[in-house]
């Protein structure tokens, strides 16, 4: 069952990647990156149990932290004037 979960997570990551590539505006890409980040947390947590090495969990924690920082940070920088001026609406 854990194997199935890992395969599902990998498939979802692939979907996120496809979306990030075909996205039309920046928010879609941020959403894809966010999805990718949480899936990575799950992937690493699942892998750590699949391979039987609980040390990997530390990395999952870092991912959870960093993913939040990068999403919020990216949105914040995107809001700044210089970027917002050239925003492609739609």
């Amino acid at each position: 069952m854990l194997t199935l979960t890992v395969v599902v997570i990998l498939a979802v990551m692939l979907a996120g990647l496809a979306r990030a590539f075909f996205a039309r505006n920046v928010y879609d890409r941020v959403l894809a990156a966010n999805l990718f980040g949480t899936k990575t947390v799950l992937l690493i947590a699942a892998i750590s149990y699949l391979f039987g090495s609980p040390d990997f969990l530390d990395i999952a924690v870092v991912y959870a932290l960093i993913n939040y920082i990068s999403v919020i940070g990216v949105l914040r920088v995107t809001e700044m004037r210089v970027i917002a001026q050239q925003e492609d609406k739609g």
Binding site: L10, M13, F21, F36, D58, I59, I69, G73, I83
Partner: protein, 328 residues
């Protein structure tokens, strides 16, 4: 299963790199870079390189896209279409080089083989002896902070120098030492995010300290802790504005701390010199060799952590100050 995950992650890495070539516009490229960082860090996890994955997670997915985005905010996000005749030659060059390199890999030892030359000389010694000589379970930390501490000192100095270089390049007239005083100009744009972040940031900083001082027993150490700590501060700075974060940690303090970290590292080595021993020989710190190693490693990792955190915060300050100057 391990192989499947490996192949899946590597294929996705290639797909991301290809889309990076195809995609126009810099913000899109940066989001793909962030995904690229996440993927490569997951790959490092499957390769058992936990410490590397730790670092790549914090750098590749967090700090690096943020710095790129701040630069793009400064220089604009439009990317020009390359001219047609400029594509043929690079393509040819890249293909030829790639084919030559692939032919070269056929002479490499097969992936994962235990008798590869790279695994022969010092690696077995580190793995077998470090348990007795250094007395800490994480071999990566033993090698980083004890066997090859002199190398690491060099790396820390490079990071320190890079921090100085960024300050020099981006120095604004009249900025030195003065905290920008437009506080209150920035009203909170998104209350939910600000409140939740206010709860989460202390945990991030706490986790950074855990990584710093748990680095001997599990994955972690000064480099990782420094980056995570800096990310927490950067998040605060992004949400509450440069003036607020400059009140928390004033720029001169950060710059002094960056130097202090290197100094702590180097002085630990000089202590041994004073006693007539080789540079960075920890046995001067205590009579019991294992305790001495432990003390030395802790001191050095602390120096590394302080320097890395301060340099990254300094880089953030430099870019953010430039950005707010440009927005005026």
């Amino acid at each position: 299963m391990e192989l499947l995950v490996d192949i899946a992650l590597l294929s996705m890495l290639v797909a991301t790199a290809v889309s990076l070539i195809l995609v126009r516009g810099l913000v899109a490229s940066i989001m793909l870079t962030s995904i690229y960082g996440l993927l490569s860090a997951s790959f490092f996890v499957t390769m058992d390189a936990v410490d590397v994955a730790f670092t790549e997670a914090a750098v590749g997915a967090g700090v690096s896209p943020l710095l790129l985005l701040m630069t793009v905010a400064l220089v604009g996000r439009v990317e020009q279409q390359p001219r047609k005749r400029h594509i043929a030659f690079p393509l040819l060059l890249v293909t030829v080089t790639g084919v030559l390199l692939i032919v070269g890999t056929l002479d490499m030892p097969p992936f994962g083989s235990a008798d590869a030359p790279a695994l022969q000389h010092v690696a077995p010694r580190y793995l077998q002896q470090s348990g007795e000589e250094i007395g800490i379970p994480n071999v990566v930390t033993s090698v980083l902070a004890s066997y090859r501490a002199y190398d690491t000192l060099g790396e820390v100095l490079v990071i320190f120098t890079a921090g100085i270089a960024v300050i020099l390049v981006l120095m604004l007239p009249g900025r030195r030492g003065s905290v920008p005083d437009d506080a209150g100009r920035q009203r909170p744009r998104n209350v939910v995010v600000n409140v939740v972040s206010k709860i989460l940031i202390p945990f991030m900083l706490l986790f950074a300290l855990y990584v710093q001082f748990h680095g001997e027993y599990g994955p972690g150490g000064g480099f990782q802790a420094g980056v995570i700590f800096a990310s927490g501060i950067i998040l605060y700075g992004l949400l509450y504005g440069l003036p607020s974060v400059c009140r928390v940690i004033p720029p001169p303090v950060v710059e002094a701390l960056a130097a202090l970290g290197v100094l702590l590292y180097a002085l630990t080595g000089v202590l041994a010199l004073l006693d007539g021993r080789p540079f960075l020989d920890y046995s001067v710190l205590a009579t019991d060799p294992v305790t001495a190693q432990y003390l030395g490693i802790t001191a050095i990792e602390l120096g590394v952590g302080v320097t890395v955190a301060s340099v990254i915060i300094t880089i953030f300050y430099a870019f953010a100050a430039h950005l707010s100057e440009a927005q005026r």
